[in-house]
Amino acid sequence: MKKYLKLYPHYLAMALKSKMIYRADWAISLLGLVVSNLATFLTLYLSTLPVQSLGGWSLPHIMFLYGFLLIPMGIDHMLTDKLWNYGGGLIDMGELDRILMKPVNPLFQMCAEYFQEGGLGEVILGVAFMAIFGPQITLDLSFNVVFPIVIGALFSPLIYFGIKLWTMSIAFYNRRSISIMSGFYNIKEYGKYPASIYHTGSWVGEVVYNVLLFILPFGLVGYLPLAAQMFPGKEIPFLWFSIPANNYLIMGVIIAVSLVQFTLAYLFFSHAIKHYASAGA
């Protein structure tokens, strides 16, 4: 672990230097994610505007949720974006040979080689949205509420990371897995709305709701912690029962689900990478 903490700054410096070949690239990829998030945000804003609330959440609540969500998402983007390239054909090109030769964990190398500054744009945008819409809603800023939310948010990038990791690992069998990656990763879009809108009473809604909390747990990132923050004392539906909106309880659920999910993804990755056979040379 110590070795990796020492290595990471070197990798990061290298990644940043290679970025500097084209200076404009920096600005563009930063702008890219900001603009696309702004467009999604505006779409959401305009479509909710006529009715002012969704599934019990008012417009500023929903916009605050969106901002909150962008931060863990942006952190994951910054650190692990290179996985997309491995799913999208880098394995074909023999990149993995180079990585497997070095006595460093292959996953560490795959992620550390690249720094996606677009994620930084998302974090900034997220903070901005929270700053704009936070004052419009009543927020409980006491320690016992904010602390578990922040701790939970530190673990939730693992959710995005884990899902990208196991879907990418399919490329070790299939040589390419980018469409499966983006198919699953895009389910994150569900998480941008308060998950209570899926909880409509029909069984389809029930399935979507619980899949979002446990199987592809994008709903854990934003909806669950904020639901407890915004509606204290209310019960939150959970599988077939409901749990009280307790911040520490929810923090525990987030940590448990994200760790289990990531561990399973990593085990699959370690298993799948053995399937890789070099083209030789």
Partner: protein
């Protein structure tokens, strides 16, 4: 052919479309549930679904040109010089390839999806069948949309001379086009001032115009005006892209190829 090389990949793209559709249905269901009145900004729930579904499956053929990608590759890999030795116009070649792509997608993906959607919306949700002239208007508007989009793509792809981060530009372009063309939300949800401006911009022709024409949301007069606007933009932007092509060729020579 490249497309069929990885058959497992198709599964993923289908999954992505299904996910998008699901979110759309749930989101709008929740929105309409909040609303006591049946219609929001001139759309009932089935009409809204029809608008968004038609807009999204129309993208299967309209939005599938190859120009942006191929011009980029030509620029970054230096293939442009070899194209210039051939006795075809570079702009014309790109447009022809793009059009071929779009028509292929029209038959392979759009038609089956459109037939399913038609059955669901007319027999299932009780919306009226589109008239024959609505279909003709739609097809004409769709063709104009391809010309507009292809020309814009060609112009934007010129940025490849300045930056290597074309994925970033691609994301920006997609997001802006999807929003401004009315593919994400119909124009009637926009603020009043924007509603007056949007129909006159080239983006309207990409999605809003064809979809509204097919769903016969326009009177005959409005249809004629919107088609004329799309036509004017298509001609203007195509000419602009031809001009950009000439400029570009000079630029490439100056770099020394």
């Amino acid at each position: 052919m490249n497309f069929f090389a990885f058959r497992g990949e198709i599964l993923g793209w289908v999954l992505q479309d299904v996910v998008t559709l699901f979110i759309m249905v749930f989101l709008w269901f929740a929105i309409y549930k909040e609303n006591a009145n049946a219609a929001i900004n001139g759309f009932s729930y089935p009409e809204m679904m029809a608008y968004l579904v038609v807009a999204s499956i129309s993208g299967q053929w309209i939005n599938n040109g190859s120009t942006f990608r191929s011009v980029n590759e030509d620029i970054s890999e230096g293939q442009i010089s070899s194209w210039l030795t051939k006795p075809v116009s570079y702009r014309g070649k790109n447009f022809a390839c793009s059009l071929g792509n779009c028509l292929g997608n029209f038959v392979l993906f759009f038609l089956p999806l459109a037939i399913i959607a038609l059955l669901v919306f007319t027999l299932g949700l009780g919306l009226p069948f589109p008239e024959w002239y609505n279909i003709i208007f739609y097809l004409v508007a769709g063709f104009l949309a391809i010309v507009i989009l292809d020309s814009l793509d060609f112009l934007i792809a010129q940025l490849g001379f300045l930056t290597n981060s074309l994925f970033g530009i691609f994301i920006i372009k997609e997001a802006i086009f999807a929003f401004l063309s009315g593919r994400a939300v119909p124009y009637s949800f926009f603020p009043a001032w924007a509603q007056n401006v949007m129909p006159y911009l080239p983006f309207a022709g990409l999605s809003s115009t064809p979809v509204n024409l097919l769903l016969s949301r326009y009177s005959l007069q409005e249809s004629a005006i919107s088609l004329a606007l799309s036509f004017a933009w298509a001609v203007a932007l195509y000419l602009l892209s031809v001009y950009a092509n000439r400029k570009m060729i000079k630029h490439v020579v100056a770099v020394g190829g």
